[in-house]
């Protein structure tokens, strides 16, 4: 039996001190992704198969570069949480699960580091 009040338990966010953190962050990035991904889809279609000069000229536009950076950050956070849920749902072996959860983060950080560096490099003038 717990002697703590319901409010006290909610404030403590549970034993892991995280509580609804993932749930909330997934919704937060989902809402952010709606306008960002609309931009992203239009940008991709507008540059489908486009030549080098056209793509680099577009990505050197500061507004495009900032938007693309935000697309990457928001989408990658959302993506990492989503894949974590999939791994936790289907992978039951403790070793494999821990390994895949680590790989999930490594993949996200690697893709993010490479693409954000690329966007910044082009944004600052190639």
């Amino acid at each position: 039996m717990s002697l703590r009040t319901p409010l006290g338990r909610v404030r403590g966010l549970g034993s892991a001190r995280e509580g609804t953190e993932h749930f909330w962050r997934q919704r937060l990035t989902a809402v952010a992704n709606v306008p960002l991904i609309v931009f992203f889809v239009v940008f991709l279609v507008a540059h489908a198969g486009a030549p080098y000069a056209e793509v680099t000229a577009s990505l050197s536009n500061p507004i495009v570069a900032v938007l693309m950076g935000m697309v990457l950050v928001s989408a990658l956070i959302h993506m990492r949480i989503g894949m974590q849920v999939i791994i936790e749902d289907y992978i039951h072996g403790e070793g494999a699960k821990v390994a895949l959860l680590m790989l999930n983060t490594f993949f996200t950080v690697l893709v993010g580091a490479l693409s954000i560096f690329a966007v910044l490099k082009l944004g600052f003038g190639g």
């Binding site: 989902a30 709606v34 991904i37 992203f40 991709l44 279609v45 080098y52 990658l76 490479l114 693409s115």
Partner: protein
């Protein structure tokens, strides 16, 4: 699950995918997860394309020969549909988070609406962008 004697005993499972007849909300739920997984893979190609653009013309042209090929463009069309569909499904989830639209008929309608919306929106975006391009 291991018992006290160390032997593995099969536990009964609740009815699963192979038991139930597919219905719209179930299929859309599965599609939402599959599209999420596909988008995960897609980020690799987005990063590749961006890194290629930042690496210089020679490497970009080589990468563009693959990603900008007919097959590459077909995959890109599929990728944009998956993005839009996952977004439509996500908006449906955000509506559900408010406690609305959970009735059987409404949620089934939502399932069909997300499919129709994603397919038509993707085609509209491609046509509109190519007219402006």
């Amino acid at each position: 699950m291991a018992s006290a004697t160390g032997t593995k005993r099969e536990r009964p499972l609740s009815p699963h995918l192979t038991i139930y007849r597919p219905y719209p909300t179930m299929v859309m739920s599965i599609v939402h997860r599959i599209t999420g997984g596909a988008l995960y893979v897609g980020t690799f190609f987005v990063a590749w394309w961006l890194v290629a653009a930042a690496s210089g013309e020679a490497y970009f042209n080589w990468v563009n020969g693959i990603l900008g090929s007919v097959l590459g463009l077909i995959v890109l069309f599929g990728y944009t549909w998956v993005l839009v569909h996952h977004m439509a499904g996500g908006i449906r989830h955000l509506v559900w988070d408010t406690g609305r639209g959970l009735e059987k008929e409404t949620s089934t309608t939502f399932a069909w609406v997300t499919l129709a919306a994603s397919a038509s929106l993707t085609v509209i975006i491609w046509i509109a962008v190519f007219i402006v391009r």
